[in-house]
């Protein structure tokens, strides 16, 4: 369930566009920030607020990798496997990371701590391979050692 505050914000967003459907993406971001992810009932609430069908909102929310339709772990790692990162060994590193976390990309560790997701270019190609933690912390020039350090830190945080 969205808070009244979130609903007011969404109404404000809708007012900014000639067609209220334009507010869907910012509304989804807002909801995700508040709830942590986008469960079915939130999708329905946004559909009702914006005046679209639930299926349509779901279409948007699943098209973009940065919306979470499944409940994520405490931390989310977006791991870039786009071309420049791949050329610098990202796919191998990802395999290692999956191995160490004990879960495949797209899933969450058994203890619910870390969600690992594959991502398209994160805009840091000059320091490839790159990953992004919780949407705000870039980690660059990744190596196995750095990965281990990061896992330790996140598990204990």
């Amino acid at each position: 369930m969205l808070s009244e505050n979130a609903k007011t914000q969404i109404a404000k967003l809708m007012a900014q566009y000639p067609d209220p459907r334009s507010a869907v993406m910012p509304a989804l971001h807002l909801a995700q920030r508040e709830v942590g992810w986008l469960p079915d009932d939130v999708i329905q609430e946004i559909a009702d607020l914006v005046g679209l069908a639930k299926t349509e909102i779901n279409g948007v929310a699943t098209f973009y990798a940065m919306y979470a339709r499944e409940q994520p772990g405490t931390h989310t790692i977006l791991f870039c496997t786009d071309l420049p990162c791949a050329l610098r060994g990202a796919d191998k590193l990802l395999e290692q990371l999956e191995h160490r976390l004990g879960c495949q990309a797209g899933h969450t560790t058994a203890d619910g701590k870390i969600t690992l997701k594959e991502a398209e270019c994160l805009g840091g190609c000059d320091h490839a391979p790159v990953l992004l933690i919780d949407g705000n912390e870039h980690q660059q020039d990744m190596t196995l050692e750095k990965l281990d350090e990061m896992i330790e830190r996140l598990k204990n945080a």
Binding site: D40, I43, A53, K54, T55, E56, N58, G59, T62, F63
Partner: protein
């Protein structure tokens, strides 16, 4: 009209035409997957790539010409999508080049990388655009090993009716677009993207739409299949017989796909004037009644209190001798008949001829609780919408006042078409009802009146038109006899007073009045709820007639009245005078027969009931001698002395007249079950035994007689009605599929229509003058505290004889429910699904509550065709409490 050259063939097409459509006119084929002429183009699949160029202009802005004086074409560097490119003057298009052939080959190869090799077990096989276009344009071999194919879920039920195969989907979005653009139920969507892209439905129940079956037809692959037809026949083994839907009064044209004397599936048949290429799910799936095991197959005679099988001769002789005996003893008035509005025109015509001319009894009816006045039999004869009106392509010059109707539930495909007119062509809808209906979403103006305020609202519009002098003075001067006297007689009813009586604001009344009167063309759609209201308030019908006349909106295409009737041939029953007070051609009769209620309650000694079930409506009293003629052992048949087994629509031919008065021919597809006979044959046999000397050999002969005898049907012989209603080609070898389903899937529409519409009096006779009449509207004040006004309506999936024979649609048939506004529900402490008790006088009904915002506060609604609520009158003041 831009001139374009496509593969060296010049065509000139209207502004805004897409290259893909212009090519059709030039006779050039452009293959498509995502494009469909009924949907908005999206350019998603790239199958339609062609080379496009425009005339080259020099520095001076002049078009450059070559040595032959022909314009030099500047070709675009890359091929363009023909489905999203709009033509322009002088444009040149090439589809026969190596570049185009390469592009097509590449797209097909690309699609096939993730498409399974399912053709041998795929329902779409034989009528599949992907198969066809692969054969025509694809590479003969693949560069990808078969193991590299992408795999995905193969059986994903999208609701009860549709099965999705994710591997086969080529992600063209036709189904998604159909649901949002045409059906107005955006319940299908894409999820994720790229290789992970999937079709999903998140509605509850899944794929919640009355039109879901159409996605099967337009899906260009076998991704969406019918859970009813799935894997039960190859399409080329079917023989497709043209027929007409036997359910509601839209009269959708369809093809019965027959194999081994069974209906395997029903698919739409194109008729631009009726259903375009659509069917609702009831019409498509609820056909199992025709071949249901419960069908009557032999005549039955009651012996020693039990119905026992008999021969046709025994049964017919008995009926005829009893009829003759009773007539001799008590006169013809002691006999009566119900000829139901599911029967074909030929049956109804002979039924009335039997009663009026052979038995010579005036006691004829087609339904209980359905009087000619209440349903506007005269209104339609006088002011029926002009011939050529196409409810699916009305433009901004047409204002449509829809009053007391819920076409989504009652005439589903007609609702699609009105929505299309409003959305695509700018028709102005004024949707007036006592509650919110789906059609209102695309209305220019949605009016909610207080239930019972229909007539006051209409009178208010009339008054507003006269106040502002918006009446059509030219029409009034030549065709109306009494406008000024009429206007004077209305003085006591100001718009304000009508507003008060109807619960609609003065501005809304005036707004609707202006929109209707000032429009160049005006139609009124008169629905079931308004007909219910007319039962207690005669001013509804006179209000409709007045509005049409003072605005001059009669007698031309896109003007006049469309009355929405419940059954496939309700119009035919009215046309042939299956009414106590109206005869052949709806002529008013001097001598009236007994009313339906009296016929049904034993006021005659002998009653002949064909194609309807008056005993199921309750309060039926069996007369001394009862004959029932039907498909099933209905409630009436169970009481009957003689039961005559009739043929289903699929087993015989004939004509139905739809709610827009279009007479449509349907053909026989199946071998008749057991000893069943067509209704007309049975009537004729009885008549012969009464000494009539009739001799009819076929439905065709009867229709030709109708065309000669009934002025409304003049010129409608079988030959004219059969236009575009072709029989399947003769059976040969593996059967003979028609090409219609493939054409719909490929988007190669013929834009054809069939059937003939009869003209109203206003249209056929320009010399007729009309007199305005009015009745005082009853109106309705607010109810006492604690009381609610009962509204009744109909729902599409009902508990009727036909629907209940199709198991696959049963999950969609709701249990009887009570719809209540969320405010009222809260006040009464009722939540969704809670049981509530409805009390009216001594009657008590319990049902679960459906809480929503569709009915206004103070009103509760009960569907009238789910059983149980039958006995409660519309507008009754009922008390509601939580159980």
């Amino acid at each position: 009209m831009p001139n374009v050259i496509i593969d060296n063939k010049p065509v000139s097409v209207p502004n805004g035409t897409l290259v893909v459509e212009a090519a059709k006119q030039a006779g050039v084929d452009i293959p498509v997957f995502c494009y469909h002429p009924k949907l908005q183009p999206v350019g998603m699949c790239r199958m339609c790539l062609v080379e496009v160029g425009t005339p080259k202009r020099g520095k001076d802005g002049q078009i450059e010409t070559d040595a032959n004086g022909k314009p030099v074409i500047a070709w675009m560097p890359k091929p363009q999508a023909a489905c999203t490119t709009v033509v322009s003057e002088g444009m040149a298009v090439r589809t026969d080049t190596a570049q185009v052939a390469d592009a097509r080959r590449a797209i097909v190869e690309f699609l096939l990388t993730s498409h399974p090799l399912d053709c041998p077990i795929c329902d779409k096989g034989g009528e599949c655009p992907l198969q066809n276009l692969t054969m025509a344009y694809g590479p003969g071999t693949s560069r990808f090993p078969v193991e590299s194919k992408f795999h995905n879920e193969k059986r994903v039920p999208l609701g009860d009716l549709i099965m999705l195969d994710r591997e086969r989907c080529i992600q063209c979005s036709r189904c998604v677009r159909f649901q949002s653009e045409i059906a107005d139920d955006p319940v299908l969507g894409f999820q994720a993207r790229g290789r992970g892209l999937e079709i999903t439905t998140l509605s509850d129940p899944p794929f919640d739409s009355k039109f879901s079956g159409n996605t099967i037809d337009i899906c260009p692959v076998g991704a969406l299949t019918s859970r009813d037809f799935r894997l039960s026949a190859r399409t080329w083994e079917l023989r497709d017989y043209p027929s007409v839907c036997a359910h509601c009064s839209v009269g959708c044209n369809l093809l019965i796909g027959e194999r081994d004397h069974a209906i395997k599936r029903i698919v739409p048949r194109e008729n631009e004037a009726v259903n375009e290429i659509w069917l609702c799910d009831k019409g498509r799936f609820a056909h199992h009644f025709a071949t249901a095991p419960g069908r009557l197959t032999q005549p039955l005679i009651r012996r020693n209190g039990k119905l026992e099988t008999a021969s046709w001769n025994e049964a017919l002789d008995l009926v005829a001798s009893k009829f003759a005996e009773i007539k001799k003893q008590n006169g013809a008035h002691a006999l009566g008949g119900f000829g139901g509005d599911r029967a074909a025109n030929e049956d109804l015509y002979l039924f009335q001829k039997l009663f009026r001319h052979v038995i010579e009894s005036p006691n004829l009816e087609h339904r209980v609780g359905w009087s000619a006045t209440n349903v506007g039999a005269d209104l339609v004869r006088l002011y029926g919408a002009g011939v050529g009106t196409n409810l699916g392509s009305l433009d901004k010059n047409v204002t449509v006042l829809v009053i007391g109707a819920d076409p989504e539930e009652e005439q589903p495909v007609l609702r699609l078409r009105l929505t299309r007119s409003a959305k695509n062509f700018g028709a102005q809808l004024i949707v007036a009802n006592g509650r919110v209906t789906k059609l209102a979403k695309h209305a220019k103006q949605a009016v909610i009146y207080r239930h019972g305020g229909e007539a006051a609202f209409l009178l208010g519009m009339t008054r507003a038109i006269l106040d502002e002098h918006l009446e059509n003075q030219e029409f009034a001067a030549t065709r109306i006899t009494n406008l000024s006297a009429f206007a004077k007689s209305l003085e006591a009813y100001s718009v304000e007073k009508c507003a008060e009586l109807s619960g609609v604001s003065v501005e809304a009344i005036r707004g609707a009045a202006r929109a209707f009167a000032q429009a160049p063309n005006g139609l009124i759609v008169y629905g079931r709820e308004a007909m219910f209201a007319q039962q207690s308030d005669l001013a509804v019908a006179s209000g409709i007639a007045t509005l049409l006349l003072i605005t001059g909106h009669v007698g031309r295409a896109n003007n006049g009245l469309v009355a929405l009737y419940p059954h496939n041939n309700s119009t035919g029953a009215l046309d042939f005078g299956l009414m106590p007070d109206h005869g052949l051609g709806r002529a008013q009769l001097g001598v009236k027969g007994l009313a339906a209620r009296e016929l049904a309650t034993g006021k005659v000694r002998a009653l002949y009931v064909m194609a309807c079930d008056p005993a199921a409506d309750g309060a039926f009293v069996k007369p001394e001698f009862l004959v029932a003629q039907d498909l099933f052992l209905t409630d009436t048949a169970q009481l009957a002395d003689v039961v005559l087994p009739a043929q289903a629509f699929a087993e015989r031919e004939g004509t139905f007249t739809n709610t827009e008065r279009r007479v449509q021919l349907f053909r026989a597809a199946l071998k008749p079950m057991g000893e069943t006979k067509p209704d007309w044959w049975i009537i004729a046999e009885i008549s012969k035994r009464l000494g009539s000397g009739w001799n009819y050999g076929s439905a065709r002969e009867i229709m030709d007689e109708i065309a000669a005898k009934v002025p409304l049907y003049a010129g409608m012989n079988y030959a004219t009605l059969a236009e575009n209603v072709q029989l399947p080609r003769p059976r040969a070898g593996q059967g003979n599929a028609s090409h219609a389903p493939t054409e719909i899937a490929m988007g190669d529409l013929e834009n054809i229509s069939s059937g003939k519409t009869w003209a109203s009096v206003a249209e056929s006779d320009a010399s007729v003058k009309f007199e305005l009449m009015w009745n005082e509207p009853k109106g309705q004040g607010a109810g006492a505290r604690g009381q609610y006004t009962l509204a009744v309506a109909r729902v599409i999936y009902d508990r009727g004889t036909l629907v209940s024979q199709t198991p696959i649609v049963q999950p969609r048939v709701p249990a009887l429910y009570l719809e209540i506004n969320s405010q009222d529900a809260q006040a009464l402490g009722i939540v969704r699904g809670a049981r509530v008790r409805v009390t009216f006088e001594a009657r008590v009904i319990e049902a679960p509550a459906n809480v929503d915002g569709r009915v206004p506060p103070g009103v509760v609604l009960m569907p009238q065709n789910l059983g149980g609520a039958l006995a409660l009158p519309l507008g009754a003041r009922v008390e509601i409490e939580k159980v």
